[in-house]
Subunit: 300 residues, 2 copies
DNA sequence: GTGAAAGCGCTAACAG
DNA sequence: CTGTTAGCGCTTTCAC
């Protein structure tokens, strides 16, 4: 290209503060620079880490990541998949929770690249899946070595798509190692701290208590931990606790951190409100102050 | 609308599996249904919670959230702001780290709604900011009540935009309460666990050790905590530790959780690679297995 | 090398 | 209430 042409174009670009309109580009080329990440709960540090790394990787290809939370609800999962087609996203990475293989057909029919991250397959679709067998066996062996024989699990909900492979695997491996995972020591709930707390309390109220509790993920495990403390159980002396995922917090903290609370949820709500008002036509700028709070815990 | 017309349209819609092309819609209307959230580190649970709530709130208005990580780097912050204009996003919510007020001018000139979430103002722009004064005072009072007088801080980097309001506030309140925050007890680093660990080690190697350490955020505090354990310091007996933000993990764990590690970063990399290959034309589906790992910590 | 023109799929405006 | 049309800003193609 002639250097003078280039210079004149660049001058005009700066003058008019021109930037390409990627919407028009996408319409013309049929290619969007956005990929969707659809997960049950982006506030779960496991998914947050997933989002961070995915974002970094896809950036190399010029793709941005749209993060979508389903709160593990089937209707939201479906709505988000439909939206991905409408938006002509470049691709979708999803951890389905209550979706069925059929739900993906519109996407694959439309030729949209889809990658599923899950313990089990969701049909003829790209899959990233963990091989947890050896790890679960190691966990059981360590439990057995500590003379623990009564295994329990706080598992995910009964209606999750693909069943509960973590539970099934634990059951079959426990059997093989001569340990019991009796039906009354399997409790179920959502992947939340509340479910973990409730489940743990329930398990420890059994006539024959478990001496090791496996959890469907680390969020459940943390709920169980908190309840254990509340009920005066010592972990691991009274009962062993094993999570799933190694979400960042799992290794982190040895005691409760005293802190100055900056309320993220409140901040987000305020930001959303400000954006809303702008979209509704507000012209002058506003400031919202949210109140920080000193939270005294055991590190002081 | 005539019910028969409606029926015929819906039949055709289903027949051809038609969905609106939101790209074309955006081009025509000039309105995008995407808002950007630009933060230093989405893997930091504080920002993950922010993203989750923002997403939920904006969803009510039909907006999706594009999550962008800057890794606290000024060049990435600038690139992302420029990208927001190009993409004609409906709005931007950002926690700037090394940006200057001038960097926002192209956005405001283009009429794009921008909300800043930060401790200090970044010019004539909507702002969500925490009021940490009373909380910091409470923290200092509790520290003083425990007969601690030598305060330290592991602060953020020196070149952060807007200085370090958390440090300034701590210094001025400490002074007012008759406590010392001597210069040699202020160390600086990025908002990472590594910086927290390094900073803590440095502080405890001082001739006159601090008896209370404040941290710029909870990620730093966790790094400090780990280093304290490694060096054999007991918290809070030997030294008090105070964080900032109350990121979800801050209150959670009383001991190190044994878990089965599901490597989120590896999963993300695999998913990105699969997406890549699809975009490059691969037609058959593939499965990637990542290895889970049993991580024995103190809960078993 | 540069210039002109068509058309991506939609919405908004207007005519019937 | 329905049908027609222009044009959003870009990329691609083809002619110069």
């Amino acid at each position: 290209m002639a250097p003078e042409t280039r210079a004149s174009v660049e001058a005009a670009t700066a003058e008019l503060s021109f930037t390409v309109n990627t919407t028009a580009r996408s319409l013309r080329t049929g290619r969007s620079s956005l990929a969707a990440l659809i997960v049950p709960d982006i506030a779960n540090p496991f998914y947050a880490q997933l989002a961070a790394t995915l974002q970094e990787e896809l950036r190399k290809r010029g793709l941005h990541v749209v993060v979508c939370n389903t709160r593990a609800r089937r209707d939201e999962e479906q709505a988000l998949l439909a939206e991905a087609v409408q938006q002509r996203f470049a691709g979708v990475v999803i951890t389905p929770f209550r979706l069925k293989p059929r739900d993906f057909e519109p996407l694959t029919d439309a030729g949209m690249p889809v990658v599923v991250s899950a313990d089990v397959s969701f049909g003829p679709i790209d899959l990233v899946t963990p091989d947890t067998r050896a790890a679960t066996r190691s966990a059981l062996q360590q439990v057995a070595a500590a003379q623990r024989r009564r295994i329990a699990m706080i598992a995910g909900p009964r209606d999750a798509a693909g069943g509960d492979p973590r539970l099934e695997q634990l059951r079959s491996l426990a059997l093989r190692l001569g340990m019991a995972l009796p039906h009354e020591l399997v409790v179920r709930g959502e992947h939340t701290r509340e479910a973990g707390a409730t489940g743990f309390a329930e398990l420890m109220s059994r006539r024959h208590r478990p001496d090791a509790v496996f959890c469907g993920n680390d969020v459940i495990a943390v709920g169980a931990m908190e309840k254990a403390h509340e009920l005066g159980f010592d972990i691991p002396r009274d009962v062993a606790l094993i999570g799933h995922d190694d979400a960042s917090f799992a290794s982190l903290v040895r005691l409760r951190l005293t802190t100055i609370r900056h309320p993220a949820a409140e901040v987000a709500r305020a930001a959303a409100r400000l954006l809303d008002e702008r979209l509704d036509g507000r012209k002058v700028h506003r400031t919202v102050q949210v109140k920080a709070e000193f939270v005294a815990r055991s590190s002081v």
